[in-house]
Symmetry: C3
Subunit: 332 residues, 3 copies
């Protein structure tokens, strides 16, 4: 794997490999010293043309836990304000000695263009309304950890402004690749104009799809889009599509409640449900670090990972780890 | 010690323990390699809902000198702008693998609420007009280093907008706990409406309290509050409450001049006094790093600190330190 | 070398020493683990009163590759907004334990004043219209790497708003010190009012100086100055002073095309020329990290660098490097 630009780059096998690897890294993050020397000497740059503390910190934490150095390029304090082109910006960052770039950009396809301009590896951290592949990976990883690795036939509803959501698109692609049955739910103004390429069905009545769900995935309602009249009011949205306490009571007890964050409590999800026993929303965050470690390692690692034996290849607590350090960092 | 939310959490013994520990860390900061491996593998997040480069850098420097990793969450570039609740924000940050959060917030009590929501340790780095306990600790530490550990009967004047100052409140509490006699000085509009809970006396005429002072502590005048008519003008404030060259000449030679920074030179303190022989303002900054190392170590450390023998338990330059490294970081 | 405030601090020998040292560090940046322990335990603070992600990241990358700790002080989120003086700010930063400050400031001479107030070493990273010495060093380093160390008689044109450019001033000083013949090119409104102190000649017709050039150095046109009527329009600027494809065709094949970045493609340089075979613009960025490593090492290093034998004194991959680590970091 050179880049991670789209879920389609991975396919079913690739998704499962990253999830398997993330299991090892999740164990690393729970150690007393939650670090491995796997990417010592590598530099990972965050290149963010949209603010996102959440996603940026998750990637940077993942990089640090792998002993990589990090560099943050945020458009708000950058020469982009001076009119520099995206191409010149990323080539400049690369020239400083960067091995991988984590790119978030408001334009769909921007990470693909970056990948064509630099030799560094590129990870798409969200591009416009197009894709957000590491979010999809952490979401399927979270589901697998509760249901086991086989998602064939799992019933998943993705609820909200699906049409404008890169999370919905990437999640639907990943879930379909693993055999899950995805239903997109929202008012017609928020559903895709065509289902071509979605590998999913659509519904406008949430109450009709609630029963039998394995997962209900609530998308964030974008406040700034409220005026765009996709729906009459936040209150009406909550009435028809919010996961209220009443609706949650109709879910099977083992149904997983998921949300990519940040939540609008009381809009798309009731506070009691967000904190309830079915919610795995905080787990999604913790799993996000493990998934991003797995992605960065797959892209930048030495390829000598042994997936058995407790992940000794990525620096186990015993002899393997020490040897890895000696070999990997002779003079620093 | 799990959290540090208020000076009251510590009491006299606790304050003295932290100061004793800070002596060891002050020695560490003066070494050729000013670092110890005490918190290797721990992650300390700065969660700042108000801008404060000064306090944030002091905590982050302290964390790095203890070999902890740091993570900065600043509200100005965060999902808080998207309406996320404080609770969701701190639970998200914790889920990424944070051991301690240093919280600054404009609302009094916010760090207490954070502590009730997360398992991580919480340090109050300033909450509204309520408290700023590490500032008080570094201030008493600075006084102790000049006067010796016994502050019983020391006479301290705190001058300025005491009513709205979290620094004044925390300092008065800490000083009173150590037996000092504290006088709050300012125009009636800037003095507390009631002295209940302050363990201090109040005065409106600075010139009447100048003589016999061991410490004069100038608070910063907040420019943005000038219009609020707490006093007629900056010039009049300086005339009545500024530590001018003339007033400073009436202080005993060993009186300490202190200020939490950033200073308004020429308003609450004359430039000549700020740089004069009685000023320990720059020492306060240096001591701040040592105090914050002591606080973070008390909260996150292994508890095996040996306070005698030059701090060998926190990584002395001899054999103890090397052993600490071997034990603490087997595989990184 | 205590500080680097101006190219004049170095002279010909100093410039050549830094360039020679940078050769060793350039080799370090190309290693599998591009780091040396040379500045372990040192802290380098970026103190930036103007936004500049490019220069700041270059210095911070250089510091990290030398194993120094970094601290970023950016005026946009700082107590400067509260009215703190430059002097108090830098003395506060120093008191936290900083060994070197990299200072960018809109006022000419600000780094000199900082150097008079602190004991830490100071590197000028750009002060008003005055100087930008590390840019000049990386530029002459880049030229030397292509032409060999002898720049005597090399013909260099610096094209653009020379009068208001700290890059032009520092580059002209450095090039003249090394014996190059510098011609400043631009409309009269952009040329210095007097050539006193410039050690250069001036010309207003770019086409007359194109032939025989060894280096053509394009300055960035500042968009925000467009209204100041230094020239009628961007389009006219490009017609008369831009390095268009047509003009580039008249250059000798071995002429180097340089630009400090960020570029205005299509204004001072055509995109095809920026990416053409003569362009060394991306090399300038990579060389900038090596030069800044050399500057920081010259200021903060132990002085035991051995320039022969592949840079073993700065941490070669063999025995020297390991010994350096043992000696330099006994207890961390």
């Amino acid at each position: 794997m050179k880049h991670l630009l789209s879920i389609d780059d991975l396919g079913r096998d690739g998704i499962e490999d990253v999830c398997d690897l993330a299991e090892s890294f999740l164990e690393v993050t729970q150690r007393e010293i939650p670090k491995v020397p796997a990417l010592r000497g590598k530099t990972v740059a965050s290149v963010f043309y949209e603010d996102s503390t959440r996603t940026r910190l998750s990637f940077e934490t993942a990089a640090k836990r792998l002993s990589a150095d990090t560099m943050t390029f945020s458009v708000s304090t950058s020469s982009v304000k001076k009119g520099e082109s995206l191409r010149d910006t990323v080539q400049t960052i690369e020239a400083m000695g960067v091995d991988a770039m984590v790119v978030r950009h408001p334009s769909a396809g921007a990470p693909h263009r970056v990948a064509s301009w630099v030799d560094a590896a590129v990870v798409n951290a969200g591009d416009g309304r197009h894709e957000h592949p590491t979010q999809a990976l952490l979401d399927v990883f979270t589901i697998r950890r509760h249901r086991g690795p086989d998602l064939d036939g799992a019933r998943v509803a993705i609820v909200g402004d699906v049409r404008r959501s890169r999370v919905a698109r990437s999640d639907a692609l990943a879930l379909a690749a693993l055999g899950a049955e995805v239903t997109l739910v929202g008012p017609p103004t928020m559903l895709p104009e065509s289902l071509a390429g979605w590998a999913a069905t659509a519904a406008s009545d949430l109450d009709e799809v609630l029963e039998g769900l394995d997962v209900i995935y609530l998308l964030r309602i974008q406040h700034e889009r409220r005026d765009a009249a996709y729906f009459p009011s936040l209150r009406e949205y909550t009435t028809r599509y919010g996961l209220t306490v009443e609706r949650a009571a109709r879910l099977a007890p083992e149904t997983l409640v998921m949300h990519p964050g940040p939540m609008n409590r009381g809009v798309e999800i009731a506070p009691e449900v967000a904190e309830g026993p079915c919610s795995v929303i905080t787990e999604q965050v913790a799993n996000g670090v493990a998934i991003r470690m797995a992605v960065l390692y797959s892209i930048l690692g030495s390829g000598t990972l042994m997936s058995g034996a407790g992940g000794s290849g990525i620096g186990g607590p015993g002899t393997g780890g020490s040897e890895g350090l000696e070999t990997g960092a002779p003079d620093v």
